[in-house]
Symmetry: C2
């Protein structure tokens, strides 16, 4: 199952990725890894592995990881609820999720990658100690010189302090945002219009009040207009540990 909101688009996206790769020799040379999330990977194996991709898939649970194993996913990304933007309906966090997924699926053919809370050498070391083969750092790379996110978004991550994020509705389920008056308002609206975000009970566009999604669309648009007051900016809980906007090379060398 793919999240109801994106189901019609999944085949189009995957087919396009495969076609682009087949039609363009340069893409075939460089486009080696495909990264999927927000749904059940079983059923996609023949298409994705058949096209020659290394396949990474994101899961928020042991149940999801076991489906990845069944599907033949190469790298399972265990995404703790600390992560930025879309998160799962039922929260499990990296300190629990990562070792649980490693215990459930890790072997010589199946790598596990931590996500959610990782931003530096000591958190990468923690991921490795917990049995992972690596860690994904989204918010850390967002706040770099080279990142093409809007400047107010990057600055928002750098400015985030202690307890600087919250969870409210995203396009395809719960999402983690930088805490601002705007996202506080969105969280209150979420509580009223999509309470499943806080209760772990999924809803979708066929049942929910769409004014919540309209608010999100306007708020994402505001980011790209540089409108700080109306902007909703996603980030991982780890934003509070990120206090600079280095060049990528300097940041990676520092890990």
């Amino acid at each position: 199952m793919v999240s109801a909101e994106v189901k019609p688009y999944s085949n189009i996206m995957i087919d396009t990725a495969i076609r682009v790769r087949e039609e363009n020799p340069d893409m075939k040379k460089h486009f080696k890894v495909i990264f999927t999330s927000a749904g059940d990977p079983v059923g996609w194996k023949d298409k994705i592995k058949g096209a020659g991709f290394t396949w990474m898939h994101v899961v928020p649970s042991v149940k999801g990881a076991l489906r990845c194993k069944k599907a033949g996913v190469d790298v399972i990304v265990a995404s703790g609820h600390e992560g930025g933007f879309h998160t799962s309906w039922e929260p499990v966090h990296s300190m629990i999720l990562l070792p649980a997924v490693v215990d459930a699926v890790s072997d010589d053919h199946t790598l596990v990658c931590g996500a959610g809370g990782f931003c530096d050498g000591k958190t990468l070391a923690a991921a490795l100690v917990l049995g992972a083969d690596g860690a994904q750092m989204g918010t850390r790379f967002l706040s770099t010189q080279e990142s093409d996110f809007h400047q107010i978004w990057k600055e928002g991550v750098v400015a985030a302090q202690d307890r600087g994020t919250l969870v409210a509705r995203g396009f395809v389920g719960p999402a983690r945002w930088l805490k601002t008056p705007r996202s506080d308002e969105h969280a209150k609206n979420t509580l009223a219009k999509s309470p499943g975000v806080f209760l772990g009970t999924p809803d979708d566009y066929t049942t929910m009040d769409m004014s919540l999604i309209q608010f999100e669309i306007e708020s994402i648009k505001a980011v790209y207009e540089g409108d700080k007051e109306k902007a909703l900016m996603a980030a991982g809980e780890v934003a509070q540990r990120i206090n600079d906007m280095p060049k990528v090379n300097d940041m990676v060398q520092g890990i």
Copy 2:
């Protein structure tokens, strides 16, 4: 500030601890450590340190850790929101909170202890890698032969699976419970009657609907009556990684 609900009792509890220790030579010999939580430690230093205790205090944030440092707390317990029973109003989880607290306060005189998500050798190793001096394991010790928690509670921890806990109102703020039909009902009631649990906005007994607390009292009573259907049983998110009820010595040796 102490949580509004327990404020009147704080002085009584601390004074009693000090008096018992002064009156009883055996207690003076063995009662060396005092463990406090759920409030601001500043203002308690003279009383607690003056009585000769080693002082441990639990905090859910860097802000709280800085108050501990100011208060002269000996061991600061950085309690991630993954932890069982009472948690903070504003969630920060161990992978972020622990290194953030270490960076903010750790020195030769101030130790930092991780809490929330720790249950075995690899999570203890992760705590140490993140800069902590140790880790607290509550749910792990709850599920041991020697633990005096009720048998259905201990069995509930062992039985907990993937995504096996949820957050709903506790006596003095948000709390983490094993996920059951009863706690699901309590979470729904919390959303209606104490929405601040999900929005990070504290309420207390002077403003909230007390039927929620009455429900909790009945549900805790049910645990001690062995009534599984009506029981509310607290546990950390890590319950899903705990699948046995060993003797304490065997468990500790295995770490």
